[in-house]
Amino acid sequence: MTPLAFLLVLISETCSAAGQVFFKHAVDGNPRCKAAKLTAGVAVMAIGFFLWIGLMSRFQLSYLYPFDGLNRIILMFAASIFLKEKMTIDLWVGVALICAGVLLVSGS
């Protein structure tokens, strides 16, 4: 996978993670700007979705799909940066496993 393609994967996964956070806040956050949050969620998810389709046209599905595991890592790091959540040993083990797996897949 070229660095550009990997960057696109990261952007796509970040968009999808950000969309989930927007939806979550729209559903149980302050109801005042609910419509704006929903719209923002749909917008970033759509960007992530079309980037993903673009990537799919270039790679085999069994090659590309394991990179979806990065979605969970992005959510965890978002939580540790924005919410100052502590990264537990479990999480680091999971991050290491997913990264090692993605590395292997990208070399296949």
Binding site: L8, S12, E13, S16, G19, Q20, V21, F23, K24, V27, D28, M45, I47, G48, F49, F50, L51, W52, I53, G54, L55, M56, S57, R58, Q60, L61, S62, Y63, Y65, P66, D68, G69, N71, R72, L75, M76, A78, A79, F82, L83, E85, T88, D90, L91, V93, G94, V95, A96, L97, I98, C99, A100, G101, V102, L103, L104, V105, S106, G107, S108
Partner: protein, 144 residues
């Protein structure tokens, strides 16, 4: 790219699922996982019709497969939300990890992709990682 949205927490545990096997929350979660994997297969078939090399795969919308994939994604989301009303999040997230197994198997069986030993090992590692983070991740997702 399975869309995962949590329902409001208070609803869980109080409501009783409707009678009949189809409304069993575990059946619905399984349906959700199957639809989620099927969506990826359909989207891939649609994406193959798009011109490769472009940044955004909007071209893919010209293929019926892409639309079928979107329908499968939305159906998967509804089944997922229904299941989550009755099943604890950590169990649901563990089950959702099966998508990482199903998609490569389906890619091999339905799309004829060849999966070499290196890729197979990578997929196994990713699955293991996804399962390891399922429980702590549920906490993170509740907070974000």
């Amino acid at each position: 790219m399975p869309a995962v949205v949590e329902p409001i927490d208070e609803a869980r545990g109080e409501a009783k699922p409707r009678k009949g096997w189809f409304f069993n929350p575990y059946v619905q979660l399984s349906i959700s996982i199957l639809f989620s994997a099927a969506a990826q297969i359909c989207l891939k078939k649609g994406a193959d019709k798009a011109v490769p090399g472009i940044l955004l795969g909007i071209e893919g919308l010209r293929s019926g497969w892409t639309w079928l994939g979107i329908v499968a994604m939305v159906s998967s989301l509804f089944s997922w939300l229904y299941g989550l009303r009755f099943v604890a999040l950590n169990i649901a997230y563990n089950l959702a990890g099966f998508v990482q197994v199903l998609v490569p198997i389906a890619s091999w069986a339905l799309l004829g992709e060849k999966i070499g030993p290196v890729r197979a090992c990578g997929i196994v590692l990713v699955c293991a990682g996804v399962w390891v983070v399922a429980r702590p991740l549920m906490h993170v997702k509740e907070e974000l």
